[in-house]
Amino acid sequence: MDARATSNPALAILLIPWSILRGAARFVSRLRANIPGMIGFIGLVAYFIFTFILPRFIPFDNEPNLDEIVGPIGSRIQLAVHRDDARLRTFEDLAGKTVGVVDQTGGPDLIAPYADTLTIEKYRWTSRRAGPGLETSLVDLANQEIDALLIFSKTVTELIDSQQDPELKALFSENIVISNPGLGPPHLLGTDTQGRDIATHVVHGGRVLILTALIGGVISTVIALFLGSIAALTGGFLDSALTALTNLILAIPRFPLLVVMAGLIRFDNTLYLGVLIGLLGWPALMRAIRSQVLSLRERDFVEAARSLGLSTNHIMFREILPNMISYVMINFIFSITFAMYEQIGLVVLGLAPINDYTWGVMLYFGRSRGTLYNPDGASMALSPVLAIAFFQVCLVLFARALEELFDPRLRAPV
Amino acid sequence: MSLPPDVVLQVDDLSIVYRTDRGAVKATANVSFALRSGEAMALIGESGSGKTTISLALIRKLPKNAVVTSGQIFYQRDQRVRDVLKLSGKELREFRWNECAMVFQGAQNAFNPVLKIRKQFEDTAQAHGWKNRAAVRKRALSLLQLVRLDPERVYDAYPHELSGGMKQRALLALSVLLSPQVVILDEPTTALDILTQRAIIDVLKDMQRQLNFSIIFISHDLSLAAEMADHVATVYAGEIVEFGGVADVFYESLHPYTYGLLTSVPTLEHAQDRLQSIPGSPPNLITPPEGCKFHPRCAFADEICMKDSPALTADVGEHLAACWHKDRLIESRKGRA
């Protein structure tokens, strides 16, 4: 119970969560007046439930469903099948059948996983609207030379309708069923390029991203806190060296550096990416913390503690850190947003691992498979975009509210 | 409305209220006074007594939450009388500095740090329709000379290149650039060292002698008031409680508050042990005391003081005071002397 016991850094660190908790309780009670901050706070809690609890109850839809594919180019995929075989619905149903594919951007990509089970004859469709290729394949289909036809376009109905030749028109309308799936329940947000439910992907797509961003944020904040306080408290050569290093790293454009490193290293685990982001992300905060510690060090209560001969540990953990905790918290949140920004940017460029199906990966596929440019693909493109956007906005709103609550200069005058 | 020819500024029954979250602060109540041409008047009183509010009202620079609930402020120049409170936006802008200049408290930051002193003189002149730069320069240099600065150097300097005392003097020069009739000085010497204070006072006296403007100055430095002022008004809790010639007020105070202020100042003649401070603290202006607002702190207070507030009246000449017990004060002063 003497002063030395409380200056034990390990003990003092244990006190940090307590002070954070106490601050959080006080914060929530004061936050009610700050509507944007409250929105951010509630949003973040919702995101937490959404990404860490909901996935336990909602399984990830990994079942490709031919009926509900959103095609990569002009439109939704359409499946034209012979009337006798109208029950053909999924890729599995097509096993062993002769399937014609109208080859356009992304078409072969989609079919590739099923190439072994399908007998595929490729038909090149050259003209933008219903061309001779499509027509030939429809005739083939009607004559049962192929069992089904995959068309990545919605023009097939138009083609049949616009048919002048009465004989052909009769042949198509008597023999062909067009499968043209719509969106809506049970698929809340529709389906993706493989007919999988997007809503379940959105629910599952945040976990790895948020964890990675947290790792990045924690690592950069801890490094910044450690180096910043060491530089400020020891001063001298170490201080100058650390400051010079910080300035040097700050001059390097961070995102291109990450792009180059990710291009060289080619990560296989997203979490490693978080570590790299954290290792590169500390300098700006380190500089800010250094000057904070420097100014706090000059304050009366710290002067008093020093004149009492208390240890550097005591001064750091008992006198300075508690006075910086809100500042560090705010910057921790901002560093999470940076980590989020950087990792998703890398994923969108295709330089980060895509084995976890995150919002970023959804975006990546949206771009690389062209769904982004499909007017019917709005859901697939917008769902991850909005999920990311609102998460970032919630973080920023929350951090801004914290800033306002803890910085008396920003508070509205009484 | 006509005023006596030598009156430049007359304030009638001015009351100002600040609306705040905790209620209406009655910062100024029924203040009336007149300022004559070429005269210096001092407003004295503790901080928060409403001195600054009165002076801000004169150029209508009150904070946004202030409301003038009653009163008029008349300004006269060349037999033309205007009510300052009724000036339109454009008229007010032209009135400011041209007719009535104000040197704020803490003039250290009164100059825009990114513009040269010259530019700020020119800005001021230009805003009031004076476009001839050479003429502005000539006038400014002579004024800077008057405030005992090196005119050429200061005129082309940036504010940060001047010392605090130099900035204060440059500001005084700027304040009379447009030959206003009234210059308001709010604590003109606070935050300056004692020698600089001395220099500023000398400069002020010089300027007034040569340019013949009227001065209203606000100070809690009574020695400064005694030296500079012709008339003194004591402000307590937003009211003028005593008004009169400087000698009358300082040597024959008729209000216990003024007397209290005077006896709390050390002088060379009086020994330290005779110093007294006024007990208590200034009243809360949201719910001011009934009757005379000074009664809770007053040694002479009795029942009447708690019920009715005394009027500002004169028994002899022009020495006004708002107190029920002027006689008792005179008695007690005689006893001490």
């Binding site: 390097i252 291009g263 330089l351 007017p375 920023v396 709103l397 | 620079k61 003039a107 250290q108 825009n112």
Partner: protein, 361 residues
Amino acid sequence: MATQSLNAPLESPWRDQLIHALRTALTSYTARVVVQAIVTIWAVATLTFLLVREMPGNPIDVLIEQILTQEGISYQEAYDRVAASFNFDPDASLLDLYFSWLGDLLRFDLGKSITSPGTEVIDEIARFLPWTVFAVGMGLLISFVLGIVLGMTMAYYRNSFLDHSLSLLSSFLTGVPNYIWGLLIIIVLGIQLNLFNVGELRGTYDISLTPGLNAAFILSVLKHAALPIATYVIATLGGWMLNMKSSTMGVLNEDYVNVAEARGLKDKRIITSYVGRNASLPLFTQLTIAVGFVLGSGVVIEEIFVYWGIGHYLFQSITVRDYTSMQGVFLILTMGVVFSNLFADLTYGLLDPRVRISGER
């Protein structure tokens, strides 16, 4: 004193004067920031050198391996080929390589592209960089001006409905990553509302036109740059707004603004020369930080809009593992940031007389 100064010219030959001048020059602020900039560029050059050669799975080995398996030539041949494209002598030590790389850099020689043989990296950069500079510069300029105006408006009408809505808006603008804004523009405005044809706006200008100072070409350039510029504006605007608001609120409390009003100055003059000028000072330093950030983020933005600027070139080099191009572009980007910092350091004194370099005294 008098005799000394009379004798002084005789006793101090020109050499002493030169040394004195040099000493003053080197200890001056200008010299310090210039030296700092040079040291930074040198350090980053060293870093890129080590990054490319010493990283796990280092590109040189990967490339040799690639050529070996693809073309079935001898190891020595493959090694020589790689050495040629990386600008190094196969027999030299790491230190020699390092110095020759630095020497090449001083001659603005960034080596040859690996994947398109015969192309100088520096030429490619010269081809792509101007587009990025144009788009980033325009974007930052527009958002900076707009942000200053909006930020001042917020400060003047603080705690009003306008202030609260603008402040919420700024949180949205800054919170949402810039590439997400880019994607939103494409998806919502381009695809869903069909306001423009996304495909037609790819590239930096309509390739059927001949570059030159004609209206059609300039219009085409502006049209192609419009979306990236809009994205840069949207993504950086919120920051300027908030910074300008808090800076303006600080300035509005300053005595000199109060005094300026008492001086009867016109509102326009007070807003521009007294409030605006002082409040925007701190934002100029932040502008250089923004330059670095926006230049960097250009990689994704240009990729999303298929705008052929330096970021697009960097990304293309990475996908085909063109290491010389990669290190060249990265170095150029860093130099861009360093030089914009340097520029800000050297010109800040023109804006704020308080830090003006006292060269003449």
